[in-house]
Subunit: 193 residues, 2 copies
DNA sequence: CGCGACGTTGATTTGCCTCAACGATTGTGG
DNA sequence: CCACAATCGTTGAGGCAAATCAACGTCGCG
């Protein structure tokens, strides 16, 4: 477990004591493709670090359509952040589904908060991640406001080339906010150019 | 300045030493309606806390259309987060415009990072804010994916009733990702019901 | 008062959706 | 390992929500 922790925090030069403290709250889990990490209504208490594999968070609306909020691959964190980080603690509203067999590290938000308080490097780590994610979200919202579907797809492929090859067509469509049919047509158009 | 700091961090019970440390990096500034805090191309080094007034961040696309990323009122923080929090330090890409005469507190990202390292309460404060904002962003993206324009407007009014009365119609339209004409028609429809 | 900024309304266009049918690919049990 | 089914992706026809273009009221400010 210690070497995993060292890997997660690789830019932060943790000492042995700190690594031990962190390891205590961690649990390694394996997840098979198509398995669910979280489903709507469940109590969300944990954040998950992805050592290997690929997952996605999606919301299922009343009419049965899926809307992909997030993909996550090696080195990313995933959870139902609306439930976990919101002002009021809510139950999960989304699904988190395994897209490719995955190895995860699981830690409770409580334990993580405690580590943040006790180990400045951990809070530094958390802040860095949150800030970067924050910038990325601003970008995504801006793109959604600014660009037509075709350009959003092109950007997606450019930004996440590794994810594009891994996931289904309709996963990408639901991430971009379009239908599979539209995405299919967009791809055709791009292929012709 | 000290009482202002106490006010910003009111849930965190700072002691006098901490308050002094924080005050050192702060600068109070006043901004008149229609003034710009940030314009594209500028170097972004600061975060701004709003004590009074209202501002908005918007992006101007190639075709001359405005896209509002964020409104901010009393008690909120504002900056060009894509530039400030992104992986690479970029120049500003957006405008931040004063919508209502404002009193701000200005602090450089550098100073703030240092305070985070030296005062756990400050990093706790920052983490709490980032996490909440993070959840809010997830919500906004989900809404944009899920809901038609009319429902997004209804939600906006419900979520930010104070902002709705303060800003121009076309500010809201560009926040929701629709045209002023569409918003006008939506309002008409809602008024009839 | 008069001008410019803002909001509304109407006519038309368009990007994307919906519905439907049909290939292609994947996975599974015999 | 093949056969078949289920899942996934593509294509076409038609429809709709919202954009565009254009004109006109209205409000606020110099």
């Amino acid at each position: 477990m210690d070497s995993m922790v060292r890997d997660v925090f690789k830019d932060f030069n943790l000492n042995d004591v700190e690594i031990n403290m962190i390891s205590e709250g961690l649990e390694a889990i394996e997840l098979k493709k198509k398995a669910f990490l979280i489903t709507p209504g469940k109590d969300v208490q944990h954040i998950y670090y992805i050592r290997r594999g690929c997952l996605r968070t999606y919301y299922l609306d009343d009419s049965g359509k899926e809307h992909t909020l997030q993909f996550a691959v090696e080195g990313w964190w995933i959870s139902d952040y609306i439930a976990l980080f919101g002002r009021e603690r809510l139950k999960a509203i989304s699904y988190i589904e395994c897209i490719q067999d995955a190895s995860l590290l699981k830690i409770s938000k409580n334990d993580f908060d405690n580590l943040c308080e006790r180990i400045p490097k951990v809070s530094g780590f958390h802040i860095r991640n949150l800030e970067r994610a924050f910038a990325a979200f601003h970008r995504r919202i801006l793109e959604n406001l600014t660009l037509p579907a075709k350009d959003r797809y092109v950007n997606f492929v450019k930004t996440y080339p590794n994810i594009e090859q891994l996931v289904k067509n309709y996963h990408i469509a639901s991430f971009l906010g379009i239908t599979t049919e539209s995405l299919s047509r967009i791809r055709k158009e791009l292929a012709l150019q």
